[in-house]
């Protein structure tokens, strides 16, 4: 019964990754990384219940709790950055920020 859960987790993760690469709105890009984290959490809980080796443990659920904390602190930082960016340029398009680049001689 492990495989369906891993596939759901992989689907969430890959959707997040594809969204992160293709979308240009900074809030949507941020939500995509959150989607990736949700996929990981599905994975972890599934592996805790149906491990490939040994007995089922709570380790996976504990890991997912820590992951939620890290994701939350990243959310706090990300939204603060988004507010700063919007105040400065009035847009959240990632393409509006291209001051830094290689000088082409």
């Amino acid at each position: 019964m492990l495989l369906p859960y891993v596939l759901v987790g992989a689907a969430l993760f890959v959707l997040g990754l594809v969204g992160f690469v293709t979308r240009r709105n900074l809030i949507v890009m941020f939500l995509c990384t959150e989607l990736m984290f949700q996929g990981i959490i599905v994975n972890l809980v599934a592996f805790g219940r149906y491990p490939l080796r040994g007995e089922p443990t709570l380790d996976g659920q504990i890991f997912s709790m820590f992951l939620l904390v890290v994701a939350a602190s990243e959310a706090a930082l990300g939204l603060a950055l988004v507010v700063l960016l919007y105040r400065n340029k009035g847009t959240l398009d990632a393409n509006a920020w291209t001051t830094l680049k290689d000088a082409t001689a």
Binding site: V6, F30, F47, R53, T57, L58, D59, V70, E74
Partner: protein
């Protein structure tokens, strides 16, 4: 029940607790009413770091506390000491960098990031390793953004944060598979044998596929931390946008943390014992590309900050040569690649920070220096800083007798040592390719000499109508730069001071896993390490 193993006394964490407590204190003092209090924040931060160093010397030199998912071994001691000494230098370099309103946050984030680095080394469980790595990274996003008041820093911080969040997700995804395949979160022999079985296909097709996906994604996430090739694209923008002191921090703290995590990850596989061929090739390609791409990008830069940033990719590549050689050969830095990596990352961190600290002190017409032409003719105006800059460049280049030379000798020497001893065995072709990798590395060192010498020549030989001068208000940053130079000189003539500590830190990895019967060659070539 969660498998956390034996309990550990809280007293094992006293150095980390002091650091994070000072970090919280500094954060609170940042909003103090009186300006004199806010002004004293860097002094408090540096006092906290020095107090931690004293506590470590006093009680934790031979600490061997294992339990609760942590293992305080010689590796943890090495990282604690080198991380904190670099922490002192970083605080000096960043002394006057943040604005008054943000001084508390800035130094608090620096201390939290150092705490994370100190916890990466002893972390012996996937959850703690992940949390410690994120404790290193998340404060650095804030540091980059806060470090300067212009839009460039904001742009750099945003790019770094977004890509960092993505790479953290990649790493955690990989860790979840490693956990699933082995059924345990403890990074120990049991997990290693489970992963080796899965990779070799001994436990079926599904575990094999999951282990491969897990290793590759966690590898990708960690390569971001060390800025090696497929995950290197952010580094130029981030270093250019960040303040100089913060760029110096980025070259050491996340890089050492990522390298240690990579070592821990590879210790779970059998790539050091001539198995797991696919993984060998992945790492081989990453190392070769990192060296070449980093140096080519750096060669094309006239902006010194971007040049140092891109050369950081190449330095990660050099370190990955030794990472591929591994500790199996044993016998000090010339055989044990892990010892060479530990030594080199500290030397690289000092030289890189020194170069950035000097850049941070210099001003041309009141403007910060970024280009090679800005620092031309420095020898006339600021002879001390010019000589220091040259010393930092020679170290990064690996010119004897600077410690950079000893480091590079260790990195490439360990790979050659492994290649020689394995070429007669079943892994002959692999050993040959390891030798090829060393040749690529040496050629790249020669390419790197071109752009490092360009800076050194501009500083020492060229002339300028309007040479840069040191900003007198930044005396602490200048002091930090001089301390970097002093340490480089010390390690030039007494390389053993750092070498022995690095070698004993890497000893733990020399034991072959029980599943592998590796014919360890006798330790040789010890005498040439002075």
């Amino acid at each position: 029940m969660p498998n956390l193993g034996p309990a550990i006394s809280l007293s094992a964490f006293v150095p980390e607790l002091i650091l994070s407590a000072v970090g919280c204190l500094v954060l609170l003092l940042g909003v103090a009413q009186r300006e004199s209090v806010r002004r004293s924040i860097p002094a408090i931060a540096i006092t906290g770091i020095i107090a931690t160093i004293i506590v470590i010397f006093w009680r934790y030199t031979n600490a061997n506390d294992v339990g609760g998912g942590f293992a305080f071994e010689p590796l943890a001691y090495f990282v604690r000491l080198s991380g904190l000494v670099l922490g002192v230098l970083l605080t000096l370099a960043a002394w006057a960098q943040p604005r008054d309103a943000e001084r508390g946050e800035f130094f608090a984030m620096m201390l939290f990031s150092l705490t994370g680095l100190l916890l990466v080394a002893p972390a012996a469980n996937l959850v703690l390793l992940f949390v410690a790595l994120e404790l290193v990274s998340i404060p650095t996003y804030v540091l980059v953004t806060l470090s300067r008041s212009n839009l460039k820093a904001l742009e750099a911080g945003t790019k770094y944060f977004y890509l960092g969040a993505m790479s953290a997700a990649l790493m955690a995804y990989g860790f979840s598979f490693l956990y699933g395949v082995s059924g345990t979160i403890a990074i120990d022999a049991e997990m290693a044998s489970a992963i080796q079985d899965a990779l070799a296909g001994r436990s079926g097709a599904l575990p094999q596929a999951l282990a491969v996906v897990g290793l590759l994604t966690s590898l990708a996430g960690l390569l971001f931390k060390v800025a090696a090739v497929p995950m290197h694209f952010y580094i130029g923008d981030v270093y250019q946008g960040a303040a100089n002191a913060v760029a110096g921090l980025l070259g050491f703290v996340p890089k050492l943390a990522g390298m240690i995590a990579l070592i821990k990850l590879l210790a779970l596989t059998s790539v050091w014992y001539n198995h797991d061929e696919a993984l060998f090739w992945v790492l081989w390609v990453v190392a070769a590309l990192s060296m070449t791409v980093g140096n080519v990008l750096a060669l094309m830069q006239s902006n010194v900050k971007r040049m140092l940033a891109y050369s950081g990719i190449a330095h990660s590549g050099y370190m990955m040569v030794a990472l591929l050689a591994g500790p199996a050969a044993g016998g000090g830095m010339l055989g044990n690649g892990i010892a060479a990596i530990l030594y080199y990352s500290v030397i690289y961190g000092i030289a890189n920070l020194g170069a950035f600290a000097i850049l941070g002190v210099l001003r041309v017409r009141g403007q910060a220096c970024e280009h090679v032409r800005d620092i031309a003719g420095l020898l006339r105006r600021e002879p001390g800083l010019a000589l220091l800059m040259a010393l930092a460049m020679f170290t990064l280049m690996g010119l004897p007798p600077t410690p950079g030379f000893w480091g590079k000798m260790g990195l490439f020497g360990s790979a050659l040592h492994v290649a020689q001893h394995a070429s007669s065995g079943p892994a002959g072709p692999q050993a040959t390719w390891l030798t090829v990798l060393v040749i690529i590395g040496v050629v790249n060192s020669a390419i790197a000499a071109a752009y490092y010498l360009r800076v050194a020549a501009a500083v020492l030989l060229h002339d300028s109508d309007e040479p840069a001068e040191a900003d007198q208000r930044l005396e602490f940053a200048g002091m930090g730069a001089f301390m970097c130079g002093f340490l480089l000189l010390v390690f030039s003539f007494y390389p053993n001071a750092l070498l022995n500590s690095g070698t004993s830190a890497a000893l733990r990895f020399e034991e072959a896993p029980a599943a592998i019967t590796a014919a360890a060659p006798p330790p040789a070539a010890e005498s040439s390490a002075r």
